[in-house]
């Protein structure tokens, strides 16, 4: 269980994340939504220890994440950030194998290979596993990085805008895979999303941030309605139900 308690992060005088408390429900997809600069990525970075909080704490199984040993933590929680610039030339398979590092320390055992193969299959990367990352398209690259965190086999998978630069087909593909990870393997996924419709259709819970503050936190059905969305985005967004999915039609709304 991940618990966030009164977390605050300041850059200069500005509170990027202000006094946020929430619990991540295990076995769900939780989406972080909100306008640009709301502090979603910052919050995710603090949960995953990439960034230190100024005040407050993040607890994983009752223990402050800062007190966890780095390699033990890496077996429980994985994070994928937006930009993944690398200086080295790696093949897809080599990159995904890095996901096993917390277990293998660089020497892959048979079990490690099994997880790598599984992750490659999950992301449909088998055919291009020997291609170099820098030769791939944006979508393939993103899938390769997600395969790496899948191979890491953590209970918690945190993804910072994984749909950035992806077309509709690949976005849907990735969201479906995340759904499968939760439903079949019992993982917990926390994801920062910009497109509220992906959040609405695929996530179990939604956490909405605005100006660093938590404004909404609850099951998707309670958040995706015009009143709540108005509070989050300052926009009148009609919500229509199609095949049981709540779709936000924000394209023509007045701010």
């Amino acid at each position: 269980m991940i618990k966030i308690r009164e977390l605050t992060k300041r850059y200069g005088k500005k509170n990027v994340v202000e006094n946020v408390s929430l619990t991540i429900q295990p076995g769900t997809i939780t989406s972080f939504i909100g306008p640009n600069g709301a502090g979603k990525s910052t919050l995710l970075s603090m949960v995953s220890r990439l960034l230190d909080a100024d005040t407050g704490e993040v607890l994983l199984d009752q223990n402050n994440v800062k007190k966890w040993k780095a390699d033990a933590f890496a077996k429980r929680v994985s994070i994928l950030k937006q930009s993944n610039f690398m200086n080295v030339r790696l093949t897809v398979r080599e990159l995904v194998s890095f996901g096993r590092y917390p277990y293998s320390k660089g020497r892959l055992s048979e079990i490690d290979e099994k997880y790598v193969n599984q992750a490659l299959d999950y992301m449909n990367l088998r055919e291009i596993q020997d291609q170099y990352i820098d030769e791939l398209s944006g979508g393939q690259k993103q899938r390769a990085f997600i395969a790496m965190v899948i191979a890491q086999d953590t209970d918690y998978i945190l993804l910072d805008e994984p749909l950035n630069n992806l077309d509709m087909k690949h976005s849907v593909q990735i969201m479906k895979i995340l759904r499968k990870l939760v439903d079949e393997l019992g993982k917990t996924v926390v994801i920062v999303l910009h497109d509220i419709n992906f959040a609405s259709v695929y996530s179990d819970r939604i956490v909405a941030l605005k100006d660093g503050k938590l404004v909404k936190n609850g099951p998707t059905s309670e958040i995706i309605n015009s009143a709540s969305l108005r509070e989050i985005y300052d926009m009148d967004i009609p919500v229509q139900v199609q095949n049981g999915c709540r779709i936000c039609v924000y394209f023509n709304s007045h701010a």
């Binding site: 780095a70 030339r89 790696l90």
Partner: protein
Amino acid sequence: MRKNSIKLLSLLVLAIICILLYAFYDIKGGFDYAFPRRVVKIAAMVVTGIAISYATVVFQTITQNRILTPSVMGMDSMYGVVQTLIYFFAGSMSIWVVNKYLNFGAAILAMVLFALILYRFLFRSDKHPIYLLLLIGMIIGTLLGSLVTFLQVLIDPVEYLGLQSMLFASFTKVKVELLYIAMVILAASFIYGFQIMGKLDVMSLGRENAMNLGINYDRMVMNILILSSVLIATSTALVGPITFFGLIVANLSYQFLVTYKHSILILGASLISIIALVGGQFLVEHVLELRTTLSVIINFIGGVYFIYLLLRESRATR
């Protein structure tokens, strides 16, 4: 993988050929006289080559770039500053010069401190573009260089001659007693290095990915900075500054052995540097008949290569 072992093996053979050639070719004036001297020079070149290669490759991994090296960032200039300050304030007859160990220790300490302060400031956030870092490094280098020149103008001319010989890279007048210390330092750094090879591989994925995979990134960066500055300081104190050497050998190694594995990259860079130094010194002594020095050639070739890399990089980022 197989291909890389063949490549490494051929580099090894070439390095051994260079060493044998340098050790035994055209020995004049008595084997007993010339041979031990040549062995000392070879040992100095091997130690220097490995130290610079090792330091440069790990430095470039933690700074996430392939153009900056500790030398380019001003480590060499710092060596000049230390020696000039010693000559200026204490003089060539002082214990700081006469006692080789003390001089060596002071140089290493100062350079490591300089590196830590500089890199702490520069690389704490990885937001700086590489050109800014390069610019800062060059400005610091120029600043320190001007400071050195200023002090050198004021210094006694006889003292200056002594100082000058300290500031030019040379394999021909290696201090044997320092060679042993350098070997010990190199051995110790390799014992540490064996434990972190896997971590270095992971760190080449960048800060966030490495932290995700359970690397204590910021602490590792600090450790590796100290490691690389100790190594560069050691090699500089041993033979003098060869600014662009690390840059050449590290990049040749990346190009020749396309891999992310640091054990292979460092081994490759070390072998390349042994070939370049021992083979180069052989050419300087027997073909060019000492009409120039190896460090001049290395800095010339390295400088050209450096410009080539800069141009290539700027095209790639556009």
